[in-house]
């Protein structure tokens, strides 16, 4: 059974989803940091 490609696909998909989510967290942190900087400038 040539099923090894399914195994690799499942493992890659798992880390792709985790990677995308972690990327979204980093982006949101960056946006917040910018907002905090803007708040600091306003004072």
């Amino acid at each position: 059974m040539n099923s090894i490609k399914f195994l690799y696909a499942a493992y890659i998909a798992t880390w792709l989803i985790h990677g995308l989510y972690l990327g979204s967290l980093v982006r949101r942190y960056g946006r917040l940091r910018q907002q905090m900087k803007d708040l600091g400038k306003g004072k």
Binding site: M1, S3, I4, F6, L7, A9, A10, Y11, A13, T14, I17, H18, Y21, L22, L25, R28, Y29, L32, Q35, M36, L39, G42, K43
Partner: protein, 302 residues
């Protein structure tokens, strides 16, 4: 605490690498499925982690709703204690024990109820008021990520083994998809509604959504389904070496989920602080405009 995070992150990466090595090279090959069965080491731990996160979301939501009034908080505590005692004792009563499905042990049911009760009080001790809401949104979001992995890896595994990507009408698959949809709608509600009641509405939705978790988990006991029997305590048999690797993999994913939740929790707290600071700043600007004798809002001329 600042130092703990990077240390834990490094340990988790090492743990995940170890679990990966165990899953691909140490665990024995399945006699029927061949190597493709190794998807189990990502599919099942992701499902267990998602269930746990949704369950924590449920407890946080119940506490958030119950804490609105001291009397309901007290009542909720006693209800949880009563459920804990009944759930712990009942499985050992012969009449109840006979009703348990094959492979479900009274001790595991009792332990589950003990863990549920303990978790309720532990969360209640360390999280109060808005922190409960932050915990709820954190666990829902990370839970959806893990549930997405279950829904993606499941069909990838099903294709070579069952010959189909998806079994329409299968209760396990359908209820998992419904569970995912419920929590996605929970997140959409939180993202796009800015009503003062959003947190309460989301908490109510989470309580109803959590009812689907036992349905997903126990569906393979109570309904005829394409999905295999549970690997632990469900009458299915698994090679102890495979089970060992499965537990290692789950522990690794649990540590990873803990770290991700930690980051998401901090992010949510920070976001709320920034929102409060922005609101305060605009309030101060408005009051400064007023005290300078200017009218801040345009008024229609009569």
């Amino acid at each position: 605490m600042k130092r703990a995070f990077p240390i834990l992150a490094v340990l988790t990466v090492l743990f995940l690498a170890y679990a990966f090595y165990q899953a691909l090279w140490v665990a024995p090959t399945d006699a029927l499925q061949g190597d493709v069965y190794r998807i189990i080491y990502y599919h099942v731990p992701s499902a267990w982690t998602a269930f746990l996160l949704f369950f924590i979301n449920f407890i946080a939501s119940v506490q958030y709703l119950a804490n609105a009034r001291p009397s309901t908080a007290r009542a909720a505590k006693w209800i949880v204690i009563a459920i804990g005692i009944v759930g712990f004792v009942a499985p050992f009563i012969p009449q109840v024990r006979q009703q348990l499905p094959t492979g479900m042990y009274p001790s595991s049911v009792a332990t589950t109820f003990l863990i549920i009760t303990t978790l309720y009080f532990v969360i209640g001790k360390y999280f109060v008021d808005q922190d409960l809401d932050v915990l709820a949104v954190t666990t829902a979001e990370v839970g959806v990520v893990f549930c997405s992995i279950v829904l993606v890896t499941g069909p990838i595994w099903a294709r070579p083994v069952w010959g189909i990507w998806w079994a329409p009408g299968d209760i396990r698959l359908a209820s998992t998809l419904v569970l995912w949809l419920i929590y996605v709608s929970y997140l959409v509600l939180r993202r796009f509604s800015d009503s003062a009641q959003t947190q309460k509405l989301a908490a109510v939705l989470a309580v109803f959504g959590a009812l689907d978790v036992p349905l997903v988990y126990f569906s393979i006991w109570f309904f005829r389904t394409q999905h295999p029997q549970p690997v632990i305590g469900g009458g299915g048999s698994m090679d102890p070496r495979m089970l060992h690797v499965l537990l290692i993999s789950w522990m690794a994913f649990l540590s990873f989920a803990f770290l991700v939740c930690w980051s998401r929790y901090r992010l949510e707290k920070l976001r709320r602080e920034v929102e409060e600071a922005e609101a305060l700043e605009s309030l101060m600007e408005t009051s400064a405009t007023f005290s300078a004798g200017k009218v801040p809002f345009s008024q229609g001329s009569k």
